[in-house]
């Protein structure tokens, strides 16, 4: 049997994580329901005036998506850290940052993709229509992978630390701010008629940058956690 290549290793990591997630569908359902509930709280709190809802829609949906991603960050590495799989991943001959990309991609499929799929329905609740709705979906499609990539750095740094849930929020939320601004800005821009292309391009740039840099930082964090 020949030694498995890099691509096989990444595919194995992704397949394993997705299978684990499928065996415990309640984890996925939890972050989806969280998103829906948080987004539904705002119309109840702010009041049901369509004009108000339309102005806050982009911000509220983006913040809800961001919090849903944040809550699921604990699942990226914790189980593997506790049962020793992570140690094996550090030890095998494949480069750790590439494996990290596989794990983060699986995490995005489980926690980010449902948000993207669900967002048009939530947008309808807030009275978004036509182009704004599509901009919302597109901005989340570009933005949520960035959130997962940045979040993985925080998740790796707080592995096994006491109070890690709150700590990861404190570390990661400041770094989420640009994504939030560009994402919500794209939707607001398309509603105002100036179009969301500029902000979508910036989101794409954030995604490319985080794809390039975040795996290295995450791998460094994992090595520190496992020392």
């Amino acid at each position: 049997m020949s030694r498995p290549g890099l691509w096989d290793a990444v595919r194995g990591v992704v397949r394993r994580d997705l299978m684990l997630a499928m065996r415990r569908p309640s984890d996925v359902a939890m972050s989806v329901f969280f998103l829906v509930i948080v987004a539904s709280l705002f119309p109840l709190g702010v009041g049901p005036e369509p004009a108000v809802l339309k102005t806050i829609a982009a911000g509220v949906l983006w913040v809800a998506a961001l919090l849903a991603c944040l809550l699921s960050l604990g699942r990226v590495f914790t189980a593997d850290y506790l049962d020793g799989v992570l140690e094996q991943m550090v030890l095998i001959a494949q480069p750790l940052p590439v494996l990290v990309v596989g794990k983060v991609f699986a995490h995005w499929v489980v926690s980010g993709l449902p948000v993207v799929v669900l967002s048009p329905f939530l947008g309808l609740q807030f009275g978004l229509d036509g182009e704004a709705l599509w901009t919302l979906v597109l901005s989340l499609l570009l933005g949520t992978p960035t959130l997962s990539m940045i979040g993985a750095i925080g998740a790796a740094l707080v592995l096994g630390v006491r109070g890690s849930g709150l700590l990861v929020a404190l570390l990661v939320l400041p770094l989420y701010v640009p994504v939030l601004i560009f994402g919500a800005g794209a939707v607001t821009g398309s509603m105002a008629g100036v179009g969301g292309e500029a902000n979508l391009s910036l989101l794409g740039a954030c995604l490319v940058l985080s794809l390039f840099f975040a795996p290295w930082a995450t791998a460094a964090g994992l090595r520190i956690a496992l020392e």
Partner: protein, 251 residues
């Protein structure tokens, strides 16, 4: 004659050197800050638009510069620590963080005090203000990550990675007034263009910046001495107490 710099990378060798340097930097800080305040508050001309309320920039701008500068210095020390595996570098990074956070808070506070009479609002959600606020959160994150990890070696490295990742924000703060159409005015002082303010104002601002810089060095050296004492088990009450039977025999 060769001089062995790496000798001072040992915390115990650095401890007395730091103690000797502190008075010099303290005196320099006191003198330049006093001179800067004198020029800024009493000699510099009154602004024809803002009256005397503009004078807070003599604290605000230097504090904002130091907040960004100290973050970069902290990240560099953390990076050096990880690259060279040097304990003292991590101790320096640890000692810099509170001072940097203090200057960030000072910049935000003085900005708010200046914004109220000039803009009519304590706070606006402007790119410069928001990114500076994020810097404060980053300092908090780096410090809290360090205190939440019990293992010292891991705490050093994890907060180091955290500090290095956060460096992304520094150019965002610096260029925020150019990239976005903001309420906050553009850069006060430029290396390339002729100064847009009266020479005396510039002199006061540079004096204050130098003073804050010297103050930071003095305080950081003082704090790093405390960190060395704490972490190298040099405190008298950190020494292991004699075994019970010895204590019994002595009594």
């Amino acid at each position: 004659m060769s001089f062995n710099w790496s000798k001072f990378s040992a915390p115990l060798a650095f401890y007395p050197v730091a103690g000797k340097m502190i008075p010099w930097f303290s005196v320099a800080a006191a003198l330049t800050i006093a001179a800067g305040l004198y020029v800024g508050l009493l000699i510099a001309p009154t602004d024809f638009q803002q009256g005397d309320s503009y004078r807070i920039i003599f604290v605000h701008v230097p504090a904002a510069w130091m907040s960004m500068f100290l973050y970069v210095v902290m990240a560099v020390w953390a990076g050096v620590g990880m690259g060279l595996n040097a304990r003292l570098s991590f101790m320096m990074a640890q000692a810099i963080a509170p001072t940097g956070a203090m200057f960030t808070f000072l910049a935000l506070l003085t900005g708010a005090m200046w914004g109220k009479p000039t803009w009519g609002a304590w706070w606006v959600w402007d790119a410069r203000l928001t990114s500076e606020l994020i810097l404060l959160f980053q300092y908090a994150g780096v410090m809290l990550l360090r205190t939440s990890i019990d293992d010292m070696r891991r705490a050093d490295r994890a907060s180091g990675v955290c500090a290095l990742v956060g460096v992304v924000n520094i150019p965002i703060i610096y260029y925020s007034v150019q990239w976005w159409n903001t309420l906050h005015q553009g850069a006060s002082v430029s290396m390339t263009a002729a100064p847009k303010m009266a020479t005396l104002m510039l002199v006061a601002m540079l004096l204050m910046t130098f003073g804050f810089w010297m103050y930071s060095i003095a305080v950081v050296l003082g704090r790093v001495r405390c960190v060395i004492l704490e972490r190298e088990n040099l405190l008298a009450w950190n020494k292991p107490s004699p075994a019970p039977e010895v204590a019994e025999a002595q009594s």
